[in-house]
């Protein structure tokens, strides 16, 4: 006897439908076999399902059972085929019809209960696009699966409750709770913007960077507060828009970073990989590629502390994402694309010992060492960073007594200002495919950046005075555009240009 249960398979960010075909035959050697390019985690499903059946008070049939995962030429991996296989077996054994237009998804535990399983958000997205109106997922994933909306989501607690539901004895309650989280995002450290003492210039740069989506690099000796400044961007950056929220939740669901009973992510992600990270860890990798840090930072912030300590390969891998907002991971048989549009915040010491230019310490590096150290930073990546600032240590006496210094602009005020600036940009770019000023292409500069009296002339003078390149010219305009937006001015004025010039690239020898 044969039944078909629907489920999915993921390759990169793409989801494909999979039919789980369960056949029980009276002839042949008793046992359970899974075919259809299943990897180890799927094959082991056999033992989980068997044991869960026994522990749920069901007799596991002593017959030849064959399970086919179709299409048979697509690699399947993951533990979530447990539920579709179990559901198929139940339907055959108890002779009940398989629910129509329904997708099954979830990992079984030996005791028959369902474990939290990664990827349920991708399941709902697939269901919605393919007119399947019902999904069965582990109960702890129900909120995640329901957060897309418009689906009947059944949170299955254990096999017995599924049996009762299928028999119509005691239906499972459809999930109808809230899909929003009130808590913080997962995995995100926040240091309050207001608690950063002093460092007024850095904080201002952070505002511009949060408002306009510009990349930022901070150069300064150890202990000057670069890390704290970077983390404080979380407290001023606006939440994800609905569209962005779906993109981010999808990524986090795929890698299993959404905790039980969590719905749509609203806060922007903040990733700070350690500098020993491998290439695959950064861009994503594996046989069936999984996203790396740059994709986890999508629509959020990628903070690279000690930027020059990262391997050259890792630094160079940032080129494509910084340019196109996506990364392509190629395998011999296929390639996958992951989204990766993030704000890059990098920090670095000025030299290997860290004290070059520090008024209070002597730098002990040889001049060649400094040169090599900086050579790693220069070039194409630095060209894509709009804002460059020096961060010097805060005087200790300031730390002790004058904690009110940073409070002249309250946090809410700045938050509103940044959010407002984002709104201005949204209006400006409503007919374009971009969201922020940092994405304005050189060819669009004339269209979106109008200059007030004398501003253009000042910019030209600055280009001469500082011997700036053409690229620097466009960078200054983009930053000045954001500064003007923060000021709620439609034209870029002299003081906007003059301020933007302060954030130009100065980091070379």
């Amino acid at each position: 006897m044969l039944v078909k249960v629907k489920s999915i398979a993921n390759r990169g960010m793409q989801t494909f439908g999979v039919d789980v075909e369960v056949n029980i035959s009276n002839r042949g050697i008793p046992g359970l076999e899974i075919v259809g390019l299943a990897d180890k985690s799927v094959a082991e499903s056999r033992d989980r399902v068997k044991t869960a059946f026994q522990n749920s008070g069901l007799q596991f049939p002593n017959k030849k059972i064959t399970i086919n995962l179709a299409p048979a030429d697509l690699n399947k991996e993951g533990s979530f085929y447990d539920l579709p296989i179990a559901a198929g077996l139940i339907c055959v054994l108890l002779e009940v019809p398989v629910p129509e237009n329904s997708l099954f998804f979830g990992e079984l535990s030996f005791d028959g209960s369902l474990r939290h399983t990664k990827g349920s958000f991708l399941l709902s997205l697939y269901a919605k696009e393919n007119n399947c109106n019902t999904v069965f997922v582990p109960s702890s994933c129900a909120k995640e699966a329901a957060s897309i909306g418009g689906l009947s989501v059944y949170g299955v607690k254990n096999l017995s409750s599924l049996i009762d539901h299928l028999l119509g004895k005691k239906p499972i309650q459809e999930y109808n709770g809230s899909v929003l989280n009130d808590g913080e995002n997962i995995d995100r450290e926040v240091s309050e913007y207001n608690y950063v003492v002093g460092q007024e210039q850095a904080k201002r740069a952070l505002q511009i960077c949060a408002a306009g989506g510009h990349n930022l690099i901070m150069i300064g000796p150890p202990g000057s507060g670069k890390t704290m400044i970077a983390k404080s961007i979380n407290s001023i950056i606006p939440d994800l828009s609905d569209e962005e929220s779906i993109e981010v939740t999808k990524i986090y669901s795929l890698v299993g970073k959404i905790p039980p009973n969590f719905g749509l992510l609203k806060k922007r992600p903040f990733r700070s990989p350690h500098h020993t990270i491998s290439y695959a860890g950064m861009v994503g990798g594996g046989n069936n590629p999984v996203p790396g840090e740059i994709t986890l930072a999508h629509r959020g912030v990628l903070f690279m502390d000690e930027f020059s300590e990262f391997s050259r390969q890792v630094i160079e891998s940032l080129r494509q994402p910084l340019e196109n907002g996506k990364i392509t991971v190629s395998r011999s048989r296929f390639s996958v694309e992951f989204p990766s549009r993030f704000i890059l915040i990098a920090s670095s010491n000025p030299c290997p010992c860290g004290f070059y230019g520090d008024p209070n310490h002597q730098c002990t590096c040889t001049e060649n060492k400094i040169k090599n150290y900086r050579a790693k930073l220069s070039g194409p990546i630095l060209d894509r960073i709009d804002i460059h600032i020096n961060v010097l240590p805060v005087e200790k006496k300031l730390l002790i007594k004058d904690s009110s210094l940073g409070l002249d602009e309250t946090l809410d005020f700045i938050k509103n200002k940044v959010a407002n600036t984002r709104l201005i940009q949204q209006k400006r770019f409503k007919d374009e495919k971009i969201f922020t000023n940092s994405e304005i292409a050189n060819s669009q500069i004339d269209k979106f950046c109008s200059f007030g009296e004398g501003a253009k002339r000042l910019l030209e003078q600055a280009i001469d005075a500082y011997c700036l390149s053409a690229r620097a010219y466009f960078k200054i305009i983009r930053v000045a555009r954001t500064i003007a937006d923060l000021d709620e001015k439609s034209d870029i004025e002299i003081n906007h240009i003059a301020e933007a010039v302060q954030y130009r690239s100065k980091f070379f020898l």
Partner: protein
């Protein structure tokens, strides 16, 4: 123009003949003339120049008479910057190499080498592409000191090569000038030592002009309409970061201060090094 002069030739630099063991032969590349050696000032200092050293060079060179020729050793740091600033302010410059005259050493300063060949002079007591050796550096220092009527020490730690050159110049009977520096920096301790013995402390090129009996007319900093700026007045007493300025002027926005600083910098009234602003 490339070639060589023997120490018996009349074109051989006169100053160099006065030292105990002058090079038998000098190879050169560039604009060789007897006049280039007339008012020669050697500039020595650390290979790792501090922002202060660079600014000191800028300030002193901007007030030097254009008759003066800057002699230095073409190393990284103060040497190279001295050559660059000399070219910037239209002074003559001579690079004395520790290697063959055709070899660019250090190799990454090829552009500077070529500019000196076209506008100044490169000399060495070694021919062709002879590689530098440990012992050629002190011998080169002897030529630097010997060629010059005076030596200017920009930065020198105790027991540094710059200090050795300065002492050598003193033993040849040449004048030694030093620029003062912070007592907290190692790069200044050598200067303190020699200024207690024989060197003269200066804060402007006019002392050097006077020593050479030259009048300086050009290169003087011009007055500017932003001279009365309050930020500029503050910077004149102490170098500051933008954050320091914010503390001094709490009523001004950080964006306003940034903007004003840019305008001051563009008018050459302020310079920035590693995030700190100095009145120029």
């Amino acid at each position: 123009m490339a070639g060589a002069v023997n120490y018996t030739d009349t074109a051989y630099p006169k100053m160099l003949l006065q030292i105990p063991s002058p090079p038998k032969k000098l190879y050169f590349k560039g604009n060789y003339s007897e006049k280039i050696f007339e008012n020669s000032l050697a500039v020595v200092g650390s290979r790792k120049m501090s922002p202060y050293g660079e600014r000191a060079l800028e300030k002193i060179f901007s007030t030097l008479s254009p008759e003066i020729t800057i002699v230095s050793g073409f190393m990284h740091g103060v040497d190279a910057e001295a050559h660059r600033k000399a070219l910037k302010f239209g002074l003559n410059t001579i690079a004395v190499m520790p290697c063959g005259v055709d070899l660019v050493h250090p190799g990454d300063q090829k552009n500077l080498y070529e500019e000196i060949v076209s506008k100044g002079l490169v000399i060495s007591e070694y021919d062709g592409y002879f590689e530098p050796k440990v012992w050629t550096y002190p011998r080169r220092n002897r030529v630097v000191a010997g060629l010059s009527r005076a030596v200017l020490v920009i930065e020198a730690a105790l027991n540094s090569g710059s200090l050795i050159t300065a002492r050598m110049a003193h033993s040849f009977g040449r004048e030694v000038f030093v620029v003062p520096g912070s007592i907290f920096s190692d790069l200044n301790s050598g200067k303190v030592q020699i200024s207690n013995e024989f060197a003269k402390t200066i804060d402007s090129g006019s002392y050097i002009n006077k020593y050479f009996n030259l009048n300086c007319t050009g290169n003087m900093l011009k007055e500017n309409k932003m001279d009365g700026n309050e930020i500029l007045n503050y910077l004149k007493s102490t170098p500051m970061t933008i954050d320091d300025l914010k503390k001094q002027f709490p009523e001004k926005d950080i964006s306003q201060i940034s903007a004003e600083i840019t305008l001051l910098t563009m008018n050459n009234l302020v310079v920035e090094r590693e995030g700190i602003f100095y009145a120029g």
